[in-house]
Symmetry: C2
Subunit: 281 residues, 2 copies
């Protein structure tokens, strides 16, 4: 029979841990002296402790371990718990792997004396409702004209409260500056059912844009020529992270742009991605 100090040395755990597990009812001492409160453990309790530590190593919480130890565990539930833990461990593993490759690519770039590219973020993007018109433009000026038209016409038909940011979706699979299939419109904050007529018989319509599980985003400030740098940063980032571009990229105008001052714009560039390995999350 051991006092808590000896037992903790045998087990290579702290006394505090043993007291903690006692408090939680996970591993009550074999005996407790009523006078002094001293805890006394016996040798065979070391295997009880090992069982707890082994379960903890699997990633179970102490609460789960407690349920499992005194619950008599109905086999099925244990299986269920393990399957959940496996999924959790797989996610965590992927996160850690991504983190490691990101760090390594940062070190590599630092050693090569290259720029930071530090502000690329990958996140899930929910779906939203969009009021938009889609067409091919042959020049940047044409796009700018379309933006100007939308900015003028749409607010007359839709209440200001419902109108969100201006957004562009680039549907052209490849970048050809003189023939870009682009969709331009406004995010809608509330459901509105309108069709807005534009010049030359075109119309802006309401449609739903699907959510994207992995969107690489980066904010660009300044003229459109700056876009190359931002695109490059995103490209390096997603490559380092083992992702691949998938689907039309977007530009979200954080400030309502003024067509005469497009060089002063703040835009969030968004690129949908998928994992190299698996098609879906």
């Amino acid at each position: 029979v051991f006092r808590i100090g000896e037992f903790s040395r045998l087990a290579r755990v702290s006394c505090r841990l043993l007291r903690h597990y006692d408090a939680l009812g996970l591993l009550p001492p074999h005996t407790v002296d009523e006078q002094t409160g001293y805890r006394y453990y016996v040798a065979s309790q070391l295997s009880d402790l090992h069982r707890i530590l082994a379960l903890k190593d699997l990633g179970l919480s102490l609460e789960q371990i407690g349920d499992l130890l005194d619950g008599g565990l109905p086999e099925d539930e244990l299986r269920g718990m393990l399957l959940l833990e496996r999924a959790k461990a797989e996610r965590e593993l992927a996160v850690q792997a991504a983190r490691l490759t990101q760090i390594e690519s940062r070190i590599a770039r630092l050693d090569a004396g290259e720029a930071d590219d530090g502000d690329v973020v990958v996140r899930a993007e929910p779906g939203f409702v969009l009021l938009s018109v889609r067409q091919c433009v042959t020049s940047f000026d044409e796009a700018r004209g379309l933006i100007a038209e939308l900015l003028e016409v749409v607010p007359r038909r839709v209440s200001k409260a419902a109108l969100g940011q201006l957004v562009a979706l680039v549907h052209s699979p490849e970048f050809e500056p003189d023939d870009i299939d682009v969709e331009l419109g406004f995010v809608l904050n509330r459901a509105v059912d309108v069709t807005v007529e534009l010049e030359r018989g075109r119309e802006a319509r309401v449609r739903h844009v699907d959510p994207v599980p992995r969107m690489a985003v980066c904010v660009r400030k300044g003229p459109p020529e700056q876009a190359h740098a931002t695109t490059g940063a995103i490209a390096r980032h997603i490559e380092a992270r083992g992702l691949r571009l998938a689907g039309p990229n977007r530009e979200l105008f954080l400030q309502p742009p003024r067509p005469d001052r497009m060089h002063d714009v703040v835009v969030e560039m968004q690129f949908p991605c998928v994992d190299e390995n698996r098609a879906t999350v």
Copy 2:
């Protein structure tokens, strides 16, 4: 200029996070209304936020990020931080991988209806001082005789306070029951410099046992025949975990054994391991 709610929706983070980062000085709002306390953000702060989130993704703490953002970062220190983070991420990755394979092997064993083997633990083991005698024994009875002799003779020469657990180290690389190279002795709690003479001219001497970075341990209760089951559990465990046996295994007698009741013993079996992949940690 955005209020906190709009800004949080644009950034897909919570208001609480923005207030938290404000409180820490990581991302103060562009403006704060003195009357109402309302926080106002501008579009370009989104990229500041992204920078913070990207650094957080690397595993840096908010405190580190704060130092880094306003510290002007002396390049070298940044490198140092990243190298540390890489090491941390590598360790974490290994831990997660081990966890995952452990969970998977548990599920597999559960599906196959096999036993639990749940109480194997891998841990680091510090070095210690041992008072021991080493010899080849040709039978279990001979070992038992040696234990009896040690239990009788040693306590006469060494104070009880200094004497720790009885331990056996099995030096035979392979298990041959009729010729086991075994070292038997006591862990010493304090430095003692003695040589204890035994029968037939043999001696127990003091020596230092090196620490072991990875020791797979499991407690066995009952007769030595039980040892096979425990050994099997450990073997399955370390295989599932991508480890490999390395060095002499040990048996630590948690209770002072009585040679006439060896079937009632509680022993911790210890097996040194190394990683399959790399020789050292």
